[in-house]
């Protein structure tokens, strides 16, 4: 994945809530990393599931896709896969730029 900016166009109505959502995803990454340490796959599965459900609604289809993959990996307790996905999510969050229109 390149470190270039990823431009996402989002409805101006959501301008107030999008930064909070992205911030929450960063918190989720930390929570999930801790959950891996305590082998708490259930929490990861729930967070992945929620991410899948919410991402696209906010306009981030990529977050939905990563969430779905995390949910699946967590249900199979595939730690390394989850780690990779969290890295991917982190990368995405650091590159994404939102244009409200």
């Amino acid at each position: 994945m390149s470190a270039d900016k990823i431009i996402v166009h989002i409805d101006v109505d959501l301008e107030e809530i999008v930064p909070g959502f992205l911030q929450n995803k960063k918190k989720d990454i930390i929570t999930m990393q801790n959950a891996i340490l305590s082998q708490d796959f259930e929490t990861i599965e729930v967070l992945g599931h929620r991410m899948k459900g919410a991402g696209g609604g906010y306009g981030f289809d990529e977050i939905s896709r990563i969430g779905a993959d995390i949910e699946k990996a967590a249900s199979q307790k595939k730690q390394e896969k989850i780690q990779l996905l969290l890295q991917e999510l982190e990368q995405y969050l650091s590159c994404v730029e939102v244009i409200y229109e």
């Binding site: 959501l14 809530i17 959502f21 259930e42 459900g53």
Partner: protein
Amino acid sequence: MKRSYLDIILFFPILLVGICEIYDLYQKFSYFGIGKLFLVVIVFSFFYKQKKIQKSFQLQNEQFTEKISRLQAIIEQCPSSIVITNIKGNIEYVNPMFSKVTGYSREEVMGKNPRFLKSGETSQEEYRTLWKTIHSGKQWYGQFHNRKKNQELYWELASISPILNAKGHVTHFFAIKQDITELKKIQEDLVNAKQTADLANKAKSIFLANMSHEIRTPMNSIIGMADLLWETPLNQDQKQYVQIFRNAGENLLNLINDILDLSKIEAGHCHLETIEFDLAQMIEQISQVMALKAQKKGLELLFHIANDTPVKLLGDPLRLRQILINLIGNAIKFTEKGKILVRICPNPQSTMPGNLLFSVSDTGIGISKDKQNRIFENFMQADSFVGRRYGGTGLGLSISKKIVELMKGRIWVESEENHGSVFSFTAQFGISEMASIQAASQKLPVIANIGLSEEGGRKILLVEDSPDNQVLMRAYFKNLPYILDIAENGQVALERFRNSSYDLILMDIQMPVMDGHTATKEIRKYEAEKNLPQTPVIALTAYALREEMEKCMEYGCNAHLSKPIKKAELIATIEKYLKKTKESS
């Protein structure tokens, strides 16, 4: 015949010491003769007295000299150095030990100030305190790092006391000093040895942490491949082998994870989070996970949070959860029948708010007294028999103990063999600013009441557990003429529905406590009982499968929207169903 006798009794000082008898066989004593005789006796007794006094003086003198020489011998032969100085601090006496330790002879040091021993290693501040103390008539204890005549450095432990005269004035100073160079060296060696040992232990932990990580990577491939193999067509024998393969892999992975966890804590890499969390909610989640395991063994699992327990806390919920799951898991593992009770209350031993006491009691096999302390050590189980029969790494309690200590608490066990165990621990949490003490057991379900308060708006109930989706939906509804209520799970939604009326329900499917299917079924049941018209229920799911949609309809939903939900689609669907109910009513 005339005879004369004269007896004079002699006393000294009051004891009878003799009788002086004088007699004349032929004549009477003349007065003059008696007078002369008296004179003789007086002179004699005077000399006698003198002699006696002299003798007693001599005796006293001898005793005194003996005493002095004994004291001197003690001081001279004392195994500690002794130095006596005058009030100015100039040396008046040193004993041979002093010369032996420092290398300076008595003659060399007489009249000098002992500062010639200074090496510069003892701070000026120390000397100032020393002089201040002894000048005020008090004793001073301390250590000097001094220099011998041969320039060698040495340590001594000294006690210096002022010597007072009858009037209470300081006349001399008396120092008694012990060479502790050897002792110091041993002490330093010990400190170094401990540091080396700590470093080695830390290195071991870091090595373990790295190794565990390295082992985990191929382990995941092995388990992953075994899982894939499991899904291919296998005959009965192959199935059994692969199952053993998978179980062993899982066990090994769990062990590695425990070791990784422990070594992380030991290497000091484990830092506790400080985040807000709801204790009651967390306990509810734990109860869901653990109740299943307890049920499988036919055990009862009960939770009790005391009324005065604060539940909005600041701390590390994941680590707390880890301890509780470990203790409850052990309780289930070692109990064949009966119940497991988890209690939470403010720690009665502490006055700090947020200091809580947790206890997990079971009716299991118990632990004998002599093994109770050992079980919190690494890799220790009550005995090897337990290990063989019940499995496990023996790391769970050790990890729990370390986390509890990080949470400024302690963990302990009370148990009797065959009569169950009670594991308790305390931990210090912060109290979340938002919260006052809340009666946890009387806590009402959390329902957010959001939306327009405008009269006449249509009421919509959103049942959704994800906070992100709640926020998103609130944003979608911002400028629409609807009143939006939010319930966080099916159970809450059901209660809300029974106490209020709604024009439409948006129902998430996968939720904790009660899922969307069950909630919809219950709502339909309630409506039928009360003879109410059916409220439209729109299912919101992350499943895009056809079967899933059909299942929703089966449970009584009217429509189905796939997440991610787009605003236009949502509004259109809502309007369609609200219009329908309006038309039909």
